[in-house]
Every structure is written in structure tokens, then in C-alpha cells.
């Protein structure tokens, strides 16, 4: 039982979660009781799926040597790319982007239920595997209207950037823009609070 199984399931890594469930379907395991992982109804064994190698030995070595070893990463590197059905272009991610593989690309039903519907092909399929990173649009609007107009507009521009990069399938760039939008929202809310907390006592004292 490797220690990584106890971490909370992350929606971005849902594919790996799925893969992990496939290789060790333990019924009483606590990870199966979390709401994210109870949804996918996996078959216990699919013959076409490549067997993911076991890295528990390496993990134990890393532990004794006090070294960092990410079993997830190693498993991803060792897993062969998924089979592409006819009619779909191979999806080549931008350089430097970690690729996420699914246990069985031929059966989209085995994907987690949060990606509902079967992916048709191309853009639609890759978008369903990877949900859009948060654009924080609501926060950007609230920050623009209530706190600070200029930096709020910058936040809205970045949330538009998230969306456009996501639609262009630049998922890493979308995530970066999402983080920038978050920062600009934090900046504008903090500026708004500071300016208001400086100004409101002044108006109470002066007139």
C-alpha cells in the first residue's frame, strides 16, 4: 500500500486516480469512500489496459534513503501512450506539459463521472478529460465593482485569457493565466480594504 493512495483525489489528476483504482481495487480502502472516487463504476480488470508497473520497491528505497520519489510520476512515465481510435488526430500536448493517460481510452465510459458524456473526438475529447481551470470570473466582477476598478479590469482580462487559452488547448497556459487572475483579484481586494479602512475613519472624524 503506497502512501500516495491516502491523499485527497485531485480533479486535475483524475486520470491517474482512475488508473490507480484499476490496478488495486480494494473494496474496504478509505479512498473508495471519498465522493470523487465512488462515482466511476470500473470493471475490475480490462485486458487491453496496459499493466502499470509496481513501484513499491523503489518507494521503500527512497524512504530509507530519505530521497524524494513520486510513484505517480514514474508510473506516468512508464505507461505507454493510449490507443487512438481511427478518425481522431493524436493529441500532442504543448512542450513541457505533463500528459495524463487513462487506463482505457477505448472505453470512455470508464472515465470518472464528472466528465459526463462520451468524448467525440479532437478538441471535445481533450476538453472533457481536462476541466477548465477556474477563471474566477465572479470574484473578478465583484472586485471590479466593489473594490478597485483598474486592477479588477486586469483580473477580468486574465480570466478571459484563461478561457481563450483553454479553448486553444493550451492547458498549461490556461492554468498560468488562472493563477494570475487569482493574484490580481487578491491585489484588488486588499487594495480596496486598505483604502476603505483608511478613508472611512477619516470621513467619520472630519465633518
Amino acid at each position: 500500500m503506497n502512501p500516495n493512495n491516502n491523499e485527497m483525489p485531485n480533479p486535475e489528476n483524475a486520470g491517474n486516480q482512475n488508473l490507480r483504482n484499476n490496478e488495486s481495487p480494494l473494496p474496504g480502502c478509505p479512498e473508495n469512500e471519498t465522493p470523487e472516487s465512488e462515482a466511476p463504476e470500473n470493471e475490475t480488470h480490462i485486458p487491453e489496459a496496459p499493466e502499470a508497473p509496481d513501484f513499491s520497491n523503489e518507494e521503500r528505497w527512497a524512504e530509507t534513503l530519505h530521497m524524494r520519489f513520486d510513484a505517480e510520476e514514474a508510473r506516468r512515465a512508464a505507461t505507454p501512450p493510449p490507443y487512438q481510435p481511427e478518425g481522431t488526430e493524436p493529441q500532442i500536448p504543448p512542450y513541457g506539459q505533463p500528459q495524463q493517460y487513462y487506463s482505457d481510452p477505448q472505453r470512455p465510459d470508464s472515465e470518472p463521472s464528472m466528465y459526463y458524456g462520451a468524448p467525440q473526438s479532437g478538441v471535445e475529447a481533450s476538453q472533457q478529460r481536462q476541466p477548465m481551470p477556474p477563471t474566477y470570473l465572479v470574484w473578478a466582477i465583484i472586485a471590479t465593482i466593489c473594490c478597485c476598478l483598474p486592477s479588477g479590469i486586469v483580473a477580468i482580462v486574465f480570466s478571459a485569457n484563461v478561457s481563450s487559452k483553454y479553448y486553444a488547448r493550451d492547458f498549461e497556459g490556461a492554468r498560468r493565466a488562472s493563477r494570475r487572475a487569482q493574484w490580481w483579484i487578491i491585489i484588488s481586494i486588499v487594495v480596496g480594504i486598505i483604502v476603505n479602512s483608511l478613508y472611512v475613519p477619516l470621513t467619520l472624524l472630519l465633518p
Binding site: P131, L137, T144, I145, C146, L149, I153, V162, V200
Partner: protein, 125 residues
């Protein structure tokens, strides 16, 4: 574990906060009260910011005065149902990814930004 408990508490906290805000703006008139914060942008420049009048709008709306709410801040009055839809889709981002993609598509976001700027200009002309 802590993340799960935060998730379960958040909706209740949100509802309680909204009720507290509603009670505050029902019983306190922002125009006569000294303690309700005024808009800094309006006090300094004399112009209305896009959110100016939102507290008066809320007070009028809670007293059933639709016309007063419209006069105080028409933009937020119109935008609040859309904002609620956006907040709903944001809280179900991984559960309903298609709705999130539609609500956060590029034309929608650009329209929101342009609408805020146009409203700011229009109310000051």
C-alpha cells in the same frame, strides 16, 4: 479531512452571511447612517463608480421598492441573477464542466468587461 469539513460548512456559512447582510441592509438605511462605508472613488472624484448605489439598491429591494432599486444602481440589479448563475457554475466546475465552459467562454467574459466599462461611462455622462 479538513478539506471535506470546510466543504460541508461553506454553504451554511454562505447562507448565514447572506441572511446577516440582508438583515443589516433591511434595518439600516445607507443614506442616513454614518457607519455604512461610503465609496472612496465617489468621495474623491465626484464621479460614480460602477458599484456606487449598490447598498441603496439592496435597501430599496429589501423594502420592495423596485423603482428605487433601479434608480440606485440598475446595473447590479440586472446583473445579480447572472452573477448568481456564474457563482453556481463556478461551484460546480468539475461536476458540470460543460456549463462552466459556456458561462466562461471568451465572448461572455469580454462582454462582461465591456458592460462594466460602458456602464461606468454611461452613468457619469
Amino acid at each position: 479531512m479538513s478539506r471535506l469539513s470546510v466543504r460541508s460548512i461553506a454553504p451554511a456559512a454562505l447562507v448565514l452571511g447572506a441572511l446577516a447582510c440582508a438583515a443589516l441592509y433591511f434595518f439600516i438605511d445607507p443614506l442616513s447612517s454614518k457607519w455604512i462605508p461610503k465609496c472612496v472613488f465617489h468621495s474623491v472624484t465626484g464621479w460614480d463608480c460602477p458599484g456606487c448605489g449598490s447598498q441603496r439598491m439592496l435597501h430599496a429591494l429589501l423594502h420592495g421598492d423596485l423603482k428605487g432599486a433601479w434608480n440606485a444602481n440598475a446595473f447590479i440589479l440586472i446583473a445579480s441573477p447572472l452573477l448568481a448563475l456564474m457563482a453556481f457554475s463556478a461551484s460546480f466546475r468539475t461536476r458540470l464542466p460543460r456549463l462552466y465552459r459556456i458561462v466562461n467562454s471568451v465572448p461572455v467574459i469580454i462582454a462582461v468587461g465591456v458592460a462594466i466599462l460602458v456602464w461606468t461611462l454611461a452613468r457619469n455622462l
